[in-house]
């Protein structure tokens, strides 16, 4: 368990969830075949194989589609992938290279499987929290098109490319307006903060870097303050200036 925690890192809860779902589905299949029970290790191994089978099949189908210059898979890619996956065992008609894919015996076997095997739906409806996840997964399919529909000016961009970000992120005027808006509202607060920091500094605390950072973002121009300095105090005044005691409306 400790190892799996290290391996999977932050993605652990969702992966546990999908593992649990695949285990339930595999358990249902095993039960329908006639098993009454299962070793935990065998059960986990078989459900792992089920997920790997799906992944391998999908990878094969998508690489078939990509090699044909498409991004979306169609029925031929899937049938080809299923044939590839069952070519380890071999199947009827595998030697006939001129046979149409739609005529494949694999598909006939699948049709008879669907016809003769009882339909066993998944034991429980998958909870609603998964709905968001599902939309997130299929977002790569739906979102680019939506954005293309939204702004027609980008309709020349292929649908498989990611959507353009929000206009406020790359248009200068919008960003500056937002920044001004943010800073002007908080003048009093800034003043208070800075005064407090300067006060603290007078007491001998070492927040100098912080206070200097604060001073850089002084929101308004303050009235000038003039001092007449005697020679004897020069040293002390310089130090004070550096610390920011005399700057601003103190």
């Amino acid at each position: 368990m400790a190892m799996s925690r290290n391996d999977e890192g932050e993605t652990r809860p969702p992966s546990l969830f999908r593992k649990a779902i695949s285990k339930i589905a595999v358990a249902q299949i095993c039960q329908s075949v006639g098993f009454t029970g299962s070793q935990q290790s065998a059960h986990e191994a078989l459900s792992d194989i089920a997920t790997r089978y799906m992944e391998a099949l999908a990878k094969s189908a998508s690489s078939n589609a990509n090699s044909c210059g498409r991004t979306e898979c169609n029925i031929f890619d899937v049938i080809h992938a299923i044939e590839d996956m069952s070519s380890v065992q071999g199947f009827r008609g595998a030697s006939d290279i001129n046979k149409s894919l739609l005529d494949s015996d694999i598909i006939k076997d699948l049709i008879s499987f669907v016809r003769w095997v009882d339909e066993i739906p998944f034991a429980k409806p998958i909870p609603c929290s998964n709905a968001g996840k599902r939309s997130r997964i299929s977002r790569c399919l739906s979102e680019p098109r939506e954005s293309c529909d939204q702004n027609k000016e980008f309709s020349h961009i292929s649908p498989w490319l990611p959507a353009f970000p929000d206009p406020s992120t790359y248009k200068n005027g919008v960003v500056e307006a937002r920044r001004e808006e943010g800073s002007s509202g908080n003048e009093e607060e800034h003043d208070r903060d800075i005064n407090r920091i300067v006060d603290v500094q007078e007491c001998g605390c070492e927040n100098r870097n912080n206070s200097e950072e604060e001073k850089r973002v002084l929101p308004i121009k303050r009235p000038k303050v003039r001092f007449k300095l005697e020679l004897g105090f020069e040293l002390g005044v310089e130090v004070g200036l550096r610390r920011g005691i005399f700057r601003g409306g103190k």
Partner: protein, 136 residues
């Protein structure tokens, strides 16, 4: 869907059978839920808006798993039949059909999957007992 078929004259029946099958998949609920298939399939870069192809993948996976499970069941029954000859007293206990790692790995080896597993887990209280009675 089938417009770019490399079809000859006699293929129309197959095409219609296939499209009927795909249409029937809309009403069929595979044991492996759509969401799970969609997740794993999207993980591998499979893009398809058509739910029928997702169902087709689900059905293919279900068929594969049930074939493996059937083979494992036959292995289990064969092993029990041979074991019963030796010890008739254990017959009652061994009659339960339990998917074990031994049977599964034998069944999977026919499908090109080599399963390697630990020979035993020392932390299980039933360690060293018969494989069939090691149900968890």
């Amino acid at each position: 869907m089938n417009q770019n078929t490399p079809s000859g004259e006699g293929k129309h029946d197959d095409d219609s059978a296939l499209s009927d099958f795909l249409a029937s998949l809309m009403d069929y609920t595979p044991t492996i839920p759509d969401q799970l298939v969609e997740h794993y399939v999207a993980k591998s870069g499979f893009q398809c808006p058509d739910v029928r192809l997702i169902r087709l993948v689900a059905v293919a996976t279900q068929k594969f798993i049930s074939e493996v499970a059937t083979d494992a069941l036959q292995q289990c029954k064969a092993r029990q039949a041979s074991a019963v000859k030796d010890k008739r007293d254990k017959q009652q206990k061994d009659k339960r059909l339990i998917l074990t790692m031994e049977d599964l790995s034998k069944a999977l080896s026919e499908y090109g999957v080599n399963v390697k597993h630990q020979e035993y887990f020392a932390d299980s209280p039933s360690t060293g007992m018969d494989a069939a009675s090691r149900e968890e």
